[in-house]
């Protein structure tokens, strides 16, 4: 055998081996981590129960029901609209794994855009996962993408025209679930998922609904509660309650002409009171620097500290960093404050829950203490 034949065989074998390893790694992206609902879980369903057009696709996702057995309001909580915003996802997981419904019922979908959990955003150097320490060892969570996996919806148009408003966005936004509402049964993959969510909200007669997010520290809408105009009183009372707890939230009114978003279309097309909450997450920002698991968990970024000190932009960044406990804690406190305010206004149809850690408890004890595994 000639020398160059041997070289060719060796190179081919190395390539095949690399391909096999890569295929295992790629396959792992499509494996969902296990979640462990609290003992008070009543039942589980799938989003495709509300629209069969997404059955057996990556758009289908688990729906968890917590029914107290006592009549009251229905709450819907969505995490994972954008799986690259981990505090929104983790807050929904903590609620899922600790919730005790006492009156009314709560519906939780932790992986709202399930497809977007199966990839990361190209050219962003995001880690594929992060780990939370628990008493029983570290627990792994996926860090995904802002948008539906291109394997599920491709190609992107140059310009995405939202249906039915006709509002135009960049082509990439065609895979953004939070630009796809109210969706369409005959639309794109993402529009079908959005349609299924709208069907669920309507069929389950959801009274209060939450969409949990995070954003870069330089984004103007940060540490905020975005509310539909019909949710105004609830939002304002919540913000005052949160302020008394030492948590500042800014109220942001959902623009009537900004279409496709949950805080707009959930409210326009159903009777629910929608709320979208944002925390400040340096890992999403343009100035973040080294992008790794440490940044996801501790949220410490020297670049943002410097940027804040220049005063050139409003930067929502604490000098000690934006730790995941702090961000998740804000979501949990916001979740409770909105329920409390809703109850004060709707005394004939209240919802009561317990079992969730308060902001200070979460910050002091860490997230791991509230994870079941």
């Amino acid at each position: 055998m000639k020398k160059h034949h041997i070289s060719a065989i060796v190179i081919s074998l190395i390539t095949i081996l690399a391909g096999i390893i890569a295929s295992f790694e790629f396959h792992k992206l499509h494996v969902s981590e296990s979640l462990y609902p609290s003992e008070r879980l009543s039942s589980e369903g799938m989003l495709s129960d509300y629209f069969s057009g997404i059955k057996d696709t990556n758009g289908d996702t688990k729906v968890y029901f917590f029914d107290s057995g006592k009549p009251g309001a229905t709450v819907f909580l969505a995490g994972g609209t954008h799986p690259n915003e981990p505090a929104g996802y983790l807050a929904s997981v903590i609620i899922l794994e600790n919730l005790i419904p006492e009156k009314g019922r709560v519906i939780v979908i932790p992986r709202l855009n399930n497809s977007a959990f199966t990839c990361t955003d190209p050219m962003e150097a995001f880690p594929q996962s992060f780990h939370i320490d628990t008493d029983k060892g570290p627990r792994k969570f996926r860090f995904g993408s802002r948008a539906t996996n291109p394997l599920d919806q491709w190609p992107d148009p140059l310009v995405y025209s939202h249906k039915p408003s006709g509002q135009q966005y960049s082509g990439l936004e065609s895979r953004n679930l939070n630009r796809a509402y109210p969706g369409s049964p005959k639309g794109t993959f993402t529009e079908k998922v959005a349609y299924a969510i709208m069907q669920m909200i309507e069929k389950e007669e959801v009274d209060i609904s939450y969409d949990l997010h995070e954003a870069a520290p330089e984004i103007p809408i940060i540490n905020a509660i975005v509310y539909h105009e019909k949710s105004e009183d609830i939002a304002m009372y919540s913000i005052l309650e949160l302020e008394m707890e030492g948590l500042q939230f800014t109220p942001e009114l959902s623009p009537k002409n900004f279409h496709g978003l949950s805080h707009r279309e959930w409210g326009d097309y159903t009777k629910t009171y929608p709320f979208l909450m944002e925390t400040s997450s340096p890992v999403q920002g343009r100035l973040r620097g080294k992008t790794n698991e440490e940044l996801i968990l501790n949220g410490v970024s020297e670049n943002y500290k410097i940027a804040k000190e220049t005063g050139a932009l409003r930067i929502a960044y604490r000098d000690e960093g934006e730790q995941l406990e702090h961000r998740v804690g804000r979501h949990l406190s916001g979740f409770m404050a909105i329920i409390n305010s809703y109850n004060e206004i709707h005394i004939d149809n209240t919802v009561k829950i317990s079992g969730l850690p308060a902001y200070q408890e979460l910050v002091e004890n860490g997230i791991g203490k509230y994870l079941n595994n």
Binding site: P220, A235, M236, E243, E252, L253, S254, R314
Partner: protein
């Protein structure tokens, strides 16, 4: 007198002198028009505070000259919100023009302006400060949530222009000084 005691005495004496020179917040009449400068939804929180104080107040995010008819006091809540501007369907420059026109008209009609900045540092810096400065420099009294004045932005304007300012720690604490202005 011991050195420490002298320091404490001096501090109290200086504070008393400064306090005696701080201008009174004054008394204002109703009906009140509450509007925004920058279209932040903070104006809705001020509306809630006015309701708690049982004030005769109307809230209009996009108040214009015609809304000043019959108004005795104009409360302006400065703070930029891109979502708010989007909701109103206007640009930042459109909003600045509206607010400048309103302030000018209020001054011409001798309608006193009270500024309430309650949004903390979220409504400071960047695009908010243009609105904050315009209103602070043209008002007769300011109520400020302290977090929005950590850099003494409003304190400096208050001292330079001789405008009375009340600082509170939390939004809900702003209700009391607000009520006192009208009672």
């Amino acid at each position: 007198m011991k050195k420490q005691s002298f320091k404490i005495f001096s501090f109290i004496a200086i504070s008393a002198i400064l306090f005696s020179f701080s201008p009174e917040m004054g008394k204002y009449e109703q009906p009140i028009l509450i509007t925004s400068a920058g279209q932040s939804a903070d104006v809705k929180l001020v509306k809630l505070l006015a309701k708690k104080q049982e004030l005769n107040a109307e809230t209009k995010l996009m108040a214009d000259l015609s809304d000043l008819e019959g108004i005795k006091t104009l409360i302006i809540v400065p703070g930029f919100s891109s979502k708010g501007l989007g909701a109103a369907g206007i640009s930042q420059q459109d909003e600045m023009t509206r607010v400048e026109t309103l302030v000018k008209a209020a001054n011409e009609k001798n309608i006193p302006i009270v500024m309430m900045h309650i949004g903390g540092n979220a409504r400071r810096g960047g695009q908010s400060d243009g609105f904050c400065r315009l209103i602070a420099e043209n008002c007769k009294a300011m109520i400020v949530v302290a977090q929005g004045n950590e850099d003494d932005f409003f304190t400096r304007i208050s001292e330079e222009k001789g405008i009375p300012m009340e600082s509170v720690e939390k939004i809900s604490f702003a209700a009391e000084p607000m009520g006192k202005l009208f009672k």
